[in-house]
């Protein structure tokens, strides 16, 4: 299925934006204004929908005229483009959006034609599917790892470098004992937050502190 590469789903949504000449602020501008306030770190709405690897929201104002002899034409509506790459199946993801990022979803999509609100999550899922455009060709460089597996692997990678530096030159028996503790600390560490800003007191610095 072109929407999927391995375990990654590539969703493309085009939601027509409401046109109302009576509004003081047009709906496309209102969407842009709201999007400009959203955080990009672990407080992002997409961090709450934690199966999201990468996502974007774009107001598409019009199609592009590439010059003569091509014909110049214009869209009648502006469209909100939602492009996201996530783990798992579409229904679960959309329901998670409705549940875990309800305020942000509502603040954005209430400016779109036909948006049913979130009182009935099933209606929201059906609405989004009406706006879905099937992907023609989808490429995912790493298509067999979840967000959480990748975040955890990145933590292991960073902490292993610290561990090696901290234990360099020690007798083999000491390194062996330290490595056991390191592996245990890695395995028992809490799940990393998506889009988290690392700090020096991250869970995997434990090994360095203990053996420095």
């Amino acid at each position: 299925m072109p929407n999927q590469s391995g375990s990654i789903y590539g969703l493309t949504i085009l939601s027509p934006i409401i046109i109302d000449p009576k509004d003081l602020v047009c709906h496309a501008t209102a969407i842009r204004d709201f999007l400009a306030t959203l955080p990009h770190d672990h407080n992002s709405p997409f961090a709450k929908v934690s199966s999201t690897h990468m996502a974007r929201l774009v107001v598409m104002d019009d199609v592009v005229f590439v010059g003569t002899p091509a014909r110049e034409e214009h869209l009648e509506s502006r469209y909100l483009v939602f492009e996201t790459n996530f783990d798992g199946d579409l229904d679960t993801y959309l329901l998670s959006m409705a549940r875990d990022a309800a305020h942000e979803v509502d603040s954005v999509w209430r400016h779109c034609v036909g948006y049913p609100g979130l009182r009935d999550p099933g209606a929201f899922v059906e609405y989004m599917k009406k706006c879905q455009i099937n992907t023609t060709f989808f490429f995912a460089d790493v298509n067999n790892k979840t967000v959480q597996q990748t975040l955890r692997a990145l933590k292991v990678q960073a902490s292993l470098a610290d561990f090696i530096a901290a234990n360099q030159g020690l007798p083999a028996a000491e390194i062996q004992a330290a490595f056991r503790e390191f592996v245990e600390s890695v395995r028992s560490a809490p799940d990393p937050l998506p889009a988290e800003t690392p700090t020096d007191d991250g869970p995997y610095k434990m090994a360095r502190k203990q053996h420095a």
Binding site: M54, E73, V142
Partner: protein
């Protein structure tokens, strides 16, 4: 405009295509997806997390209410979305250098596409058809796609070594530990804030 988040750049582009060309482009994508080896250059570039091409037929823009004006378009449209590492110029240069034939096969069906080489005209075309991102999120903004792949190799190697080294004597562990370090050293290094991009 927020095309950049950490080390990743979100590119959007839209190009018009005459409707009779759309089936030919669909055939190109079918071959790319089904003939082994045709997509190797894209994989080997190794600085694209995710990319997609989406054909929107001229009558397929969603219309969800009678009150929404109907679109009257002459062209079908090809949308392109990419999540890549590095700067815009690096990306287009690499695309032009490494993937020119593949890009020509995909975009030659779009109006006025100048071909991927020479790169100057190609860049002018991309700049014309690109539109900016309003909000961009990535779960791992400090990591490139090579960082991600290296991290998964390190993570797997740690688990493997933990299993293999169980019950080893300290002297055996010392030798095995050196071999383990030799295996993972190319994948170590820290992720962090990316350089300022264009």
């Amino acid at each position: 405009m927020t095309n950049i988040n950490g080390k990743t750049y979100a590119m959007n582009a839209i190009t018009p295509m005459k409707t009779w060309k759309t089936p030919l482009l669909r055939l190109v994508f079918f071959l790319l997806g089904h003939v082994p080896g045709l997509g190797n250059d894209l994989v080997n570039l190794s600085f694209i997390h995710f990319a997609r091409w989406v054909i929107v037929p001229r009558d397929a823009f969603p219309r969800l209410a009678e009150s929404q004006p109907e679109e009257h378009l002459h062209y079908d449209y090809l949308l392109f979305f990419s999540n890549f590492n590095g700067t815009w110029n690096q990306y287009i240069d690499a695309f032009s250098d490494v993937l020119s034939q593949g890009l020509n096969a995909i975009w030659i069906w779009s109006e006025k596409f100048p071909r991927a080489r020479p790169v100057t005209l190609f860049k002018q075309y991309i700049a014309l058809v690109q539109f900016d991102t309003d909000y961009y999120y990535t779960a791992y903004p400090r990591a490139t796609t090579n960082d991600v792949k290296a991290a998964h190799r390190v993570s797997a190697a740690v688990e493997e070594f933990a299993r293999e080294s169980q019950g080893m004597s300290p002297s055996d562990f010392g030798g095995a530990y050196v071999r383990f370090l030799t295996k993972v050293q190319k994948d170590l290094g820290s992720t962090g804030i990316g350089p300022v991009g264009t």
